[in-house]
Symmetry: C2
Subunit: 154 residues, 2 copies
């Protein structure tokens, strides 16, 4: 079930990244109210949080994204794909393992379970995508569908 | 895992409903861009979709909510609690059963699996809550946290 939600998030993310190609670079980085403040940074934040937590689960060192080095959707797409290959391999090959294993992160106090962090990553992306959908309407544009059904996931 | 996501959604929803008590009735129904168009209807829509699909899974007749008969957060809270008691009993007592059982709905074409619909309900609420968080910031107010962690759910 975790994996299906990841697939859902990735499919929706890919559709949004394609959707963004109709926007100017100016629109991508235009300051907006709420969320991560602009469209480009919202995607970088989603990708960053997912990858950082997946690395934390694997007890690997954190790799920070330098947000300022990204200015186009192509660059964001490329980052998303690179990280996804790694995450996909982890989620499918090694499987989840002990769901109650303790996870800690260098950027945050606290001890979490692996299961908890997987839930957190999933909800985190859906939440930010919801914010994008409001910004899209504010720009007079139709957002990508958030439906889980009709995606061929099941 | 399904149940934990429902618990997360309910906890977040309850916090948002409490949060709404600082708003005037005018603010609750003020037309906003994106999503379901206003705050009150967003909650009614979330509650409606969750309950309708849970009934569809149980092969029970659909019960439509008359949105126009709700004007206060107390009324919405009361509806949310009434339906939740029923949904909670279903999710915990009968458990999920056959995840691949086919689900159909009178308001929509198509055949889905039970598992698919449970994913759909979960993502649906998180998505709309993300929209609320943008509207909150547009009102100059701090939204409820969307974090899964730090909620005592695990």
């Amino acid at each position: 079930m975790f994996y299906t939600f990841f697939q859902y998030n990735w499919q929706v993310r890919d559709e949004w990244l394609e959707w963004c190609k109709q926007l100017s670079e100016e629109e991508l980085i235009k300051e907006r109210i709420g969320g991560v403040g602009n469209i480009l940074n919202t995607f970088l934040h989603i990708i960053d949080v997912e990858y950082s937590w997946i690395r934390a689960i694997q007890e690997k060192e954190d790799i920070a994204i330098d947000f300022s080095s990204f200015s186009t959707i192509d660059e964001v797409q490329s980052l998303s794909e690179t990280y996804r290959n790694e995450i996909e391999a982890f989620l499918t090959n090694e499987s989840i393992g002990n769901r109650n294993a303790i996870v800690t992160a260098p950027w945050m106090e606290g001890e979490f379970t692996k299961e908890e962090i997987l839930h957190h990553i999933i909800a985190h992306e859906i939440h930010h995508i919801g914010q994008l959908s409001v910004w899209a309407r504010e720009m007079g544009r139709k957002p990508v569908s958030a439906n889980v059904i009709f995606r061929g996931l099941f």
